[in-house]
Subunit: 613 residues, 2 copies
């Protein structure tokens, strides 16, 4: 391809809203243009790399036996009503009515459509396991689209779904997907951090996110320096600095050594900071007690304090019965934060939020700021593991300006549940090896998870097992964002001058830069381009009538892996030579012209091959 | 690929709404499933063929230097307001508001988006010509989607657009596209009829449609048996059965031979049929006169009768001035129909429709049914070519129950314009060679046209020419429906038993059918599959534990071009043999096993190669 015919509008200026490298470089190198906020057009150079990422994903999906299909992008709203997500997806889902007043959705994800397709075709266990995928357009109406295609409104996603007769089969496909994802990212030249993740609004358990480190990442990752443990902070565990105890054990231990619990006046003291200052002590000695409101609680709480009269309801005949709303007190050590994702997971609730002040006052019989586990009745208390190690603590006394000191777990209060619900933070110790944990910000590129029966139940998918009995298949779900993966490659591979493409996803493998595209130089450039092209190497030939400096700058900016410079002087030597240079490396070297096509071909093929291993 | 892992749910039953072969067979052969009315999911087998059609189109676009880009599917409504099509596109365009109340469009076509992209990058004549294309999702809310993907709501279209510094350059690209389209359809195994077409709502002149014959086609084609002339009836011309004359010539010719015009009573006679019966003559002797209302007339009518006071208006500063509404009388021979597309084209009007009765009565001073060109004033008369040859005609006398006879063009009436505005019909004579014309129904697969300046003007696209002067580029536009092309391949290539895929777009090239997938037969089948796959041949291996009859039926239904049957008996001969059969041919033949892979590979490669020539 000749540069002058390739429509590569490079820019010197950086778009004012481009704060990250990939966004800046995709615009400057002429890969991308903006259509509107969060909507972009891939120009020819960008699309070439984009298609290569797609193709790598396709090959690895095919290799594990997943089959590509193509549903529409605009899909019937009816399917989303069946699954219940018409209501739960919120405003990021683009809903449309057509001229006949039918509801449609511009797909933000495709569990419903795939499930409906399989539902109609599945009859026998012999059809299982089945894994289907698409690489197709998605739309999510981000409220604040930014960072270019890293967080756009319309994007392309590879989303795969699988169906299984048993958990073993689901796990096999889940593991195969995990391996395929590692290969995909490796082939794209990306260093990903696979982390145990919460599966969020998608439901189900058993999930792994594939993250790349990013200063503008949406996710906080908890990592261990020693053993490589990695988790999303939403799910991360850490080692307790003591052993969690039963209340009986705890009570026994404190009987001799801790003074009896005692009420103290704490006038005008409400926050932990104020309390620390007032009592001249550290937050670690306090028990923080928070009142939470939980929605759609699936956990059986009929025996819990204050819950006997809450009625359970079903949202649909096949759905599990849930408590539409319930309140909980959560006690945790004063220096720590409650992890609401862990809490929701413990309660099997669709949502947990801090209760309103009016509910706190009603439930604790005290103003906000004086809740504590001692004497608190009328709602279930959930005790974080850390609190079971506290036997001489300060905590709220359920009355204005009053606290307790010498409060001891097991002796002075108990909980209804004892769980790990703390948010892990840098400096905590690794639950696996005891090493020190640290944090990074990350962007999610891919996510695999076991959905279980959420969709097959709500959408009534069944098959007949070996005994002719009707069964419901288990389901898995596996996504990769193509645009975000491409942008992340640039984030990881660039320098001040521009992009440094890994060969596997470079728009072209070689850029040939004739110093002046004329005479013998032109002839040589054309011949070398033809020879490389014949070998299957993708060549961009800079045929423009520009100064060499302009051409070199554009070659660096667009990041083509190999640059060949052809000039009169080196050509007219006894043995004609050209200069070759690997983008990102400082040295260039002269090479005999007649060996150049062979060597470049070999190097490029080898490199692509190695990335596949 | 093993059949049992390929998710090919073939059906014996035909979906009740499937009235055409492609719709029936795409469902029965497991290529497609319905998501909702007009929305379909391509299953793995269907998608493989779909991608091959896409790839053929891509290769031919790339071959003529068009560059692929990828805008979004959901695009800002603002762009459509700029071009004026936000209002003119009607209800088939899916409009969406997002959570911020911004207007979006789910692209039905992409002139606006491409024009906006080029507008921002185009500065110099050196960037021209430029041709860009996408292969991407489109949505049109068909009011009656039917015939499967032949007329669906969501579909994939290749749409290309080009920009040019002059008409010569536009014509060069237009011609190159025409040649590429012929190659594309040939490579897909399709017989297309390229016809001169009207460019309809797209505007502009110079256009060609690529049609396939279809009983359920949307278009009537006019074809010449003798010279191959082909045109859409909307634009078709034919030979006049006389020479069109000026009014002076005509007047001279009739002066001696035709009796003077004479009024006759025609009580209770209104239609041409009634008049024929009353006067015992044929419709060819009548002059039919119709009153039309035209909207947004660009033609200068300031000098036409009754038009001096109509004010011209501009819809936007750069748009041409138009008459918002004007009325015209159209006189045509009684046995012929007015072609409203030709009429609109003559008037450069956005729309023409028959005037309401109240307007007809007002403008002719007579009840409906008595209009005629003699003595008609107050509006411009447009005379079809045929009427200039009529010198002894019957026509309405502008009063109830009165007609004229012996009316002669040139002597008794004249027109403001003389134009070809008749609809050609079967039996008319070819304008090129005089051969007899006949009609066919056709479906449009592709369309190329010269848009001219419609979008570059309304969206203000400019560049600087060699002299540094600001110029506006001319534009062309070139579309192919991918789904419809695929369905048309099946329409043209099938029999009672199923699809007969051309090798180039077949989902697999070879289906291997082991009589029983076991022992030596299994071993041979696996080995042959591996050998063919190694040669780049795509193989489906029917590993199912089904009766041979079931396997043969599915092989015929799915239409894989080459079938290889492997059985115990032929394998155990001195020289082991297998049976090969071309789908669609009756004979099968035995071939030595050790030559089978070689021969099949060669035949398939040769066939794909030939289709490219």
């Amino acid at each position: 391809m000749n540069y002058s015919s390739a429509f590569i509008p490079t820019l010197r200026e950086v778009p004012s809203d481009a704060v990250i490298a990939s966004h800046r470089l995709m615009f400057r190198a002429g890969l991308l243009r903006k259509l509107a906020n969060g909507l972009f057009t891939y120009l020819p150079l960008g699309l070439r790399s984009f298609r290569k990422v797609e193709q790598i994903i396709r090959e690895e999906m095919d290799a594990i036996g997943a089959l590509e299909i193509k549903p529409t992008v605009v899909v019937p709203g009816e399917l989303w009503k069946e699954s219940g997500r018409w209501d739960s997806m919120g405003e990021s889902m683009l809903r449309v009515k057509n001229r006949l007043d039918n509801d449609f959705v511009v797909s933000p994800t495709a569990e419903e459509v795939f499930t409906a397709t399989v539902r109609d075709e599945l009859s026998s266990y012999r059809q299982l396991p089945l894994a289907l995928y698409q690489i197709n357009t998605k739309f999510r109406d981000e409220i604040r689209p930014r960072y270019g295609v890293m967080r756009g409104r319309e994007f392309v996603m590879k989303d795969a779904y699988s169906w299984h007769a048993d958990d073993k089969s689901l796990d096999d496909t889940y593991q195969a997907m995990g391996r395929a994802y590692r290969k995909i990212f490796k082939r794209c030249g990306l260093s990903v951090i696979p982390v145990k993740a919460d599966s969020g609004a998608m439901g189900g358990s058993g999930s792994e996110e594939f993250m790349v480190e990013s200063e503008i990442g949406d996710n906080t990752l908890i990592l261990c320096k020693k053993c490589g443990y990695a988790a999303n902070v939403e799910k991360a565990a850490c080692k307790n600095d003591f052993t969690a105890q039963t209340s009986a054990e705890a009570a026994k231990a404190v009987a001799v050594s801790v003074p009896p619990i005692e009420k103290i006046d704490t006038p005008n003291v409400k926050t932990i900071e104020e309390l620390c200052a007032f009592l001249k002590t550290e937050p670690q000695t306090f028990i923080k007690t928070l009142i939470y409101r939980a929605v759609n609680v699936e956990l059986d709480i009929s025996s819990a304090p204050g819950c006997a009269n809450i009625e359970r309801k079903k949202q649909s005949p096949d759905a599990p019965a849930v408590y539409p709303q319930a309140f909980f007190a959560v006690a945790i050590r004063g220096d720590l934060d409650v992890n609401e994702v862990k809490l929701a997971s413990v309660l099997k609730a669709s949502e947990v939020t801090l209760a309103d002040d009016i509910d706190v006052t009603r439930l604790t019989n005290a103003p906000v700021g004086f809740a504590g586990p001692v004497g608190l009745s009328g709602l279930p208390i959930i005790i974080d593991h850390t609190v079971t190690g506290m036997n001489d603590a300060v905590t709220g006394a359920l009355a204005k300006d009053l606290h307790y000191k010498h409060a001891a777990y097991g002796r002075d209060f108990e909980g209804w549940l004892i769980e790990d619900i703390r948010t892990v933070k840098a400096g905590d110790l690794c639950s696996q090896c005891g090493g020190e944990l640290y944090t990074k910000m990350g962007n999610e590129l891919g996510h695999i998870f076991k959905l279980g029966y959420k969709y097959t139940r709500s959408m009534n998918v069944t098959y007949l097992d070996e005994n002719g009995k009707t069964q419901m298949p288990a389901m898995g779900c596996y996504g990769i964002g193509v645009d975000r993966t491409l942008a992340s490659v640039i984030e990881e591979h660039h320098d001040e001058a521009g992009i440094i493409w890994p060969v596997s996803v470079a728009p072209y493998h070689v850029i040939i830069v004739p110093i002046k595209y004329d005479g013998a130089v032109k002839e040589t450039a054309d011949k070398l381009a033809a020879e490389l092209t014949h070998n299957g190497i993708e060549v961009l030939l800079d045929d423009r009538n520009e100064r060499p400096g302009v051409k070199f700058n554009d070659a660096d900016l667009t990041g083509i892996p190999w640059r060949v410079v052809i000039g009169d002087k080196a050509l007219s030597q006894n043995v004609p030579q050209v200069e070759i240079k690997r983008r990102g490396e400082k040295e260039n070297r002269m090479i005999d012209l007649d060996k150049s096509a062979g060597e470049l071909t070999e190097r490029i093929r080898e490199e692509i091959g190695t990335m596949k291993l």
